[in-house]
Amino acid sequence: MQSNLIPLHQLPIGSFGIIKKLTAQGNTRRRMLDLGFIYNTTIESLRKSPAGDPIAYEIRGTVIALRNEETSNILVETISKQE
């Protein structure tokens, strides 16, 4: 199953993923947790900024933009549609 996981920034725009693993450490990890980036949370990739990085995501009812450095440490499983 591991092979199905992709880093969040590779999730195509407009599609949904489920957070399966957080590999960030320390302060970054704690901030991600506070924003609700926890196991089994659904996340939608919304849109890229003009330069392609950061990317805006919707998670738990809020729109949050993250840089690719951060999102490469969030592994998601793609799903076809929101349940």
Binding site: R29, L33, L46, G52, D53, R60, G61, A65, R67
Partner: protein
Amino acid sequence: MGLTNQSTGTKVLKEMFRVQSESPKDIIVALAGNPNTGKSTVFNNLTGLNQHTGNWPGKTVANAQGKFMHENNTYILVDLPGTYSLLANSVEEQIARDFICFGHPQVTVIVTDATCLERNLNLVLQILEITDKVVVCVNLMDEAKRKKISIDLNHLSELLGVPVVGTTARDGKGLEKLKDIIAKVALGKVRTTPKKIQYDEIIEKAITEIEPYIQNSINDQLNSKWTALRLIDSDNLLLESINNYLDFDLSKDELLNLTLKKTHLELEKEGFKLEDIRDQIVSNIFKTAENITQKVVSSQSKTYHPIDRKIDHILTSRLFGIPIMLALLGFVFWLTIEGANIPSNILANIFLLLEKKLVLFLGWLNTPIWIHDIFILGIYRTLTWVISVMLPPMAIFFPLFTLLEDLGYLPRIAFNLDHFFKKACAHGKQALTMCMGFGCNAAGVISCRIIDSPRERLIAIITNNFVPCNGRFPILISMATLFIASTHDTFNSLLATLSILGVIILSVIITLFISKLLSKTILKGLPSSFTLELPPYRKPQIGKIIIRSIFDRTLFVLGRAVAIAAPAGFIIWLMANVTIGSTSILTHCAQFLDPFSQLLGLDGYIMMAFILGMPANEIVIPILIMSYMSEGTMLELDSLIEMKQLFIANGWTWLTAICTMLFTLNHWPCGTTLWTIKKETQSWKWTWMSFLIPTLTGFVICFIVAQGARLLNLV
């Protein structure tokens, strides 16, 4: 005995948190909430103009307090920093948590956003673990209705075990009810039974092992279950705070330490490493929030509203995002510069009329002529010049900027530009603080508070002075029109405009370059994690925008500038009028500075004008004219041609004009800005750095340009 002990203890704590209460009967209410929930609107509407702002003791985080009366009781409302959580990952979170734990608020009100209740409940549940006396305020009910989200407030109240009030703070709806409920909770007329989070069995077991050891020592001053959990999570900051506010050191409790170690070992045996514990705790809180949300919220549409989606599609699009942003900001600047001319002239005329009356009045009093000169020609003229030049542009710029802020557009600018700032190792929000700096650098420095990572905030503060403020634009504009435009008659204004645009672009490039240089040298280290919330677009409240931006920004900045301009006017007048030998002190100083200034393509008088213009850059040109004419007082020449002839007569070339423009862009910050930097960083070191870095940059750039031009025989 217990009573006196406790009351003196509380009094000391109040002082530690700088709570402005006048009587022990005052009821202290803490106001907590996520950022962007309209918490400050609730605060402003409850307290009106009875506000007091300052900083938290020893911190650079703003501390706002206000008062309101309700049924003969005085309530002191303490606005805590907006945070997503209370797990003390940042200074803001630590302040909020410490106040709730140790500031003894009688009630804690948590403002939540009705349009995304789930994430807000994370904070609510964390606070409920600490204290029982909580009122939940579900704000932005109108936005929720517009987005077809309905919330069963009664059911939410049942599930949370504390009172819940729905409000639309911007219209004042529900706030009377909120006051009633706050009063009832404060006076013990409503009983609260807060929902406690059920943790995984293994963590609950660990808590029961630790809790008894804590119960003995903290004596009900803190919730013992919560404290036990924080200790299992190795929260050393809490231990420090307990030591600080309750005056005993839990870390020296050996029995407790032994038990903690044993518990950690047990947890590890079950496969829970220390970092997994935090994950588990946060997951449990979010799961509980999710469950509650599912029971009380029914939504017919998705949370990221389709209309917001469409607006973002245009405003942050690859093709139009940046051009639209440039056009919008350009329009704001154009309106500020063009629109300020007329009121500036009107103000100047009014002050002139007043001056005549003052002269008559002083004559009637028979005051000696030197008092008249110091007072009218020195202080009064400097002061009125600063006011008439600074007030109109600020009164136009700040409300426009606040309008963009209120609409929710500003975070989109940060989103659009973050990539470029990331390359300079800075934060996307620095784009916003720079925009603010175009209005006024002091205001720009204050706005750096929106950057939550300390390193990037410091970069933004130190480099803010590289963007030219309203006070420096007039210098740039007059130089461009006098020396760049008039040599090419056909393209006159176009060329002048282009050169100003060039200067602005140059200032942005220098800012990014210096930011990068700073982060590679004295501020070394990786950029800390970047998160940027893009809140929903909101309907702005025009009336409130005007009032708040005039009071909070315009008058605040003007007040500081006036406080510095008045004594400066006095000193400048003295220097220009007191003579040693046959020349004034001003000329002596200028002659001393001349050799060095020539190296930079300037002359001694220009350098002197910048030094004396430190109180406010608006007075640089007037001082320059004054010293060239050796008139000894500030005046405005009738026409630009006269001004140009005066400059040329004093040896100016186009190179002098270019170097003056470059030096205008890059030199020490004005007095007001430096003072603000000292207040914001609480450090002399960084204040000095903010002085030295732009000054050295200016020296280097002017030297290269001046010497280069001379070497190439361009002049």
